[in-house]
Amino acid sequence: MKLRRATIHSYWLMFVATVITVAIVTSSQLITDRIGLLLDRQASELLAADMVVISGREFDAEYREVAKQHGLRVSSSVSMRTAIFIDDNPRLVELKAVDNAYPLRGRLERALGVTGERTYASGIPASGEVWVGSKLAELVGQSFSLGEASFDARWLLTFEPDRGGAIFNLAPRVLMNLEDLPATGLVVPGSRVRHRMMFAGELSDINRFKIWLTINLKAGEEIQDLENARPEMRRALERTRKFFALAIVLTLVIAMAAIAITARYTANREAPKVAMLRAFGISQRSLFRYYLRQLGGLWVAATIAGIALGWVTQFPLQWALDGWFGKSLPQVYSLKPFLSATLVGFLALAGFSLPYLVNATATPPMQVLRTAVNRRSWLRGLLISGSAIVAVFVVLVLLMQSSMLAVATLALVLVCAFVLPLVLGWMIRLLLFSSQRRFWLRQYLLSRLQAVSRGAIYVMSGFSLVLIAILLIAVVKDELLGSWHEQLPQDIPNYFLINIRSDDIDAVGAYMQQHRIESSKPYALARARLTQINSVDIGAIDFVDPRAEHLVKHTFNMTHARELPDDNEIVAGEWLDADSPRAQVSVEQGMAERLELEIGDQLTLTVGSKTLRAPVTSIRSVLWENFKPNFYLITNPELLADMPQTGLMSAYIEDRSRLDLKRLLKRFPSITLLDISEIMARVRAIVDKASVALQFFFIFALVSAMIVLLAAIQTGRQEREIESSLLRALSAHTSQLYRVHVLEFTLMGGLIGFFSASFATLAGWVISVYFFNIEFHFSLAVWAYGMLSSCLVLTIAGTLVSRRVYNVSPMKILRS
């Protein structure tokens, strides 16, 4: 039988384990950089840029110049509401004039008519033409006048990247060339227009420019970027990145466990050779050099192969993502992934393999004459575990910088690695002595126990570690995806109705009910500006957190409420006493952190021209990504009663209700609609993309697991053969032995599966709750999968091992 002869050369296993480690680092660095860029880009498309500055007036020409000096691309647009006349009937439109650079991120899509094919536009409307929104479809191919100029409506505008989240009325879009705008004469002093200047470029350039811009910003100008414009998107990105970091750490742990186990196996196989060579008078020093050379060669070969493998994995990934999203992953040209992969390969070998081989070079030469017990030395044990820990931490610092999540995960795994052998040893003992066995069986099992304590237990620990890591990735991934889906049920609101006049609120609510449109209850919305904390002017306070700046400079959403909104949780203080006339305010957790607010701090706020003061009575956590109206500040109803405010409401509007909606807007013309389905779709897309990329790491993890298993099958083969011959001499039936042996593996598999699932659940809970701030659901499926897969794999391994042992010809045993 082929397999029996396949005493797979131990170096090969170590080689493959190292190749995989290097490949993981290479591809994770290449892929995360590229995915990160892709995700950023995609999010940026919601702004059609990386950063936008908005104002009611024209911008200083200096902005454009300085941005260009920072290496950024710049685009300007002007938008306004105006009327066009169709057959002498005025029609309100949302006019937007853009320059040639627009959009900086994302693409425009157009069609020749409602039923026409949608294609990407390669530019913007040419001078003299406009593209119109679908509600003006009948205009395509005609001319109409805009102010004092006349335009041809050439195309139907079917998609505009930054409209998804932008506030829009049902007034249809008219997109035109910025050069034509003066000719229309629509922009005159006093007309209400919005000027936008958009910027895009490298993140570092954007950040530098943002600092400059913040300092030079004029009154009435506002910066928008992902950070402040799309908190839900930012959170999605953050979590996705965190999850990536987690998955990569765990995959690396698996690969390194494989290196450690194969190195141990290799060292054990080298021991007789070392003893022989030392008997021949070869010094430990030259043996050490010999192994150093071997490892060096292995390192070079594995690095080249690993980098090649890691590099190649980009392509299927790219293919998978392109297929889904029709846009290429951005290219990243950097040597860093390759350098760090090389370094990690080196560290892994130096940390895990070298100590074992150093240990092997100390094999006493007397062992050539008699199997002498190689005395275990604490010092050597310390050398091995110490260097492993150092290696892992250096790798971590190298790859993850200061990710708390990665450090915590690793700490958990390390604890596990130390506890595992003890737990397993205990489990085996329990297993062996739990049942009544016949004498020969007992003898046999006792000898097995010794074999286990010699080496199998480390392999079992390694296998268990691998299983834990795989289960942990699966658990956290499920929780994360689950948390999204839970928050995004089918009937999630897809529109926000804002700017509802206070007087209309009740009527709007009644209208919604009457037409059976699912909607939230109306919230009051006031735009508040923070002016003082504890009577100190906010401008005079230095905040540690740079993100405080935005909160200081801008207005933010405030409402009043009687009950704590859904998905909000009090983290400090007590929820408002709504019936008390006493001024109270509840602050969102992130805002409280940034502004260093504590319970009892007195806030002074201005809403329009009015001022109010209230103490902070509670701090709340808010689930920003639940797509429900969320607020930084919530006051008791009394406090906001006389403040200028509008109504806000979310609604789920199906296609069939659109007509009702149209009528509603006719009746209450102040209302503005905010379409959030686009944002949701993009958030979903981000999570989906991350999952696809993760499949690739999963493949690496599985290959590493296979290697561990191979090492497991090889380990202790000789001992088992000797045992089996011994037992045959005791005239035990081979088939009996065979069954016991396989059963033992199966039981071990069950125990390992149970332990691994328990630990993975525990770690998954810690990680979900503390690092992802999501709820954790205990699931029996983890145990089921863990035990099932572990039983199955170990039974197969056990069968293979047993076949090898019990099919061995008695002659061979006699000879050895």
Binding site: A279, G281, I282, L287, M366, V368
Partner: protein
């Protein structure tokens, strides 16, 4: 000193180990000399202490009492590394269980100690040595594909390749059938006669006994 002219000299050597049942005397008060180019055969029943004695003579293990001289160097005063340097390039071994490196071919097995000792023309020496044991046709064969007798020949080639001053053999025919064993014994003595290597051979088979220049009998850790 008298020891300078001797290849090996043991002076009232004892070996004890601590076992759970108390101190165990394996060897007691052993004194013996082996001259250069001499062929000494040590014989005794299984468990009489032959292997232990061989280990002490070769400096693989340390005596509990007395002095062991190898090439005039007192091994008792040296640690394991220093003892290895005394052996380096001057001592060869043939073992009962061959101790070949699995997964390597015959040539690589013979070359390994040569290369690690820093000898330049290791391949030529190894091939020459394999030719002497009649394995020139199996140079590139993996050792696990060789028969037991052939494996032991590789081990003998490995031992003689370094042109040792002394060859230690612990039951070299113990794992072989009688016929093959005889061939191996013939080969070893033939090579020794050619090279003038000192030979210390341990066996419990009477057949090998007469071949030596001198026989030493051991029983329960004492020389007879």
């Amino acid at each position: 000193m008298a020891e300078d002219n001797l290849c090996i000299a043991l002076n009232q050597v004892g070996k004890f180990v601590d076992t759970p049942d108390g101190k165990l005397d394996i060897l007691n008060n052993i004194s013996l000399d082996v001259k250069y180019q001499e062929a000494v055969v040590i014989k005794g029943a299984s468990g009489s202490g032959k292997t232990t004695l061989l280990g002490l003579m070769a400096g693989l293990d340390q005596a509990s009492s007395g002095d062991v001289f190898l090439f005039g160097e007192n091994l008792a005063r040296r640690n394991e590394e220093q003892r290895a340097s005394v052996r380096a390039g001057r001592v060869g071994f043939v073992f009962q269980s061959f101790h070949l490196v699995q997964g390597a071919n015959a040539l690589q097995n013979v070359m390994l100690p040569l290369e690690l000792s820093g000898i330049d023309n290791a391949p030529q020496l190894a091939i020459e040595s394999l030719r002497q044991v009649g394995l020139e046709k199996k140079v590139n064969t993996l050792v696990e594909h060789l028969s037991g007798g052939e494996q032991q020949r590789v081990a003998i080639a490995r031992a003689f390749a370094i042109k040792p001053q002394v060859l230690f053999a612990d039951e070299p025919t113990g794992n072989l059938d009688a016929g093959t064993g005889r061939q191996i014994a013939d080969l070893m003595f033939h090579l020794r006669d050619q090279s003038g290597t000192t030979l210390v051979l341990v066996t419990h088979e009477s057949e090998l006994l007469e071949r030596g220049d001198r026989q030493i009998l051991i029983e329960s850790g004492r020389l007879l």
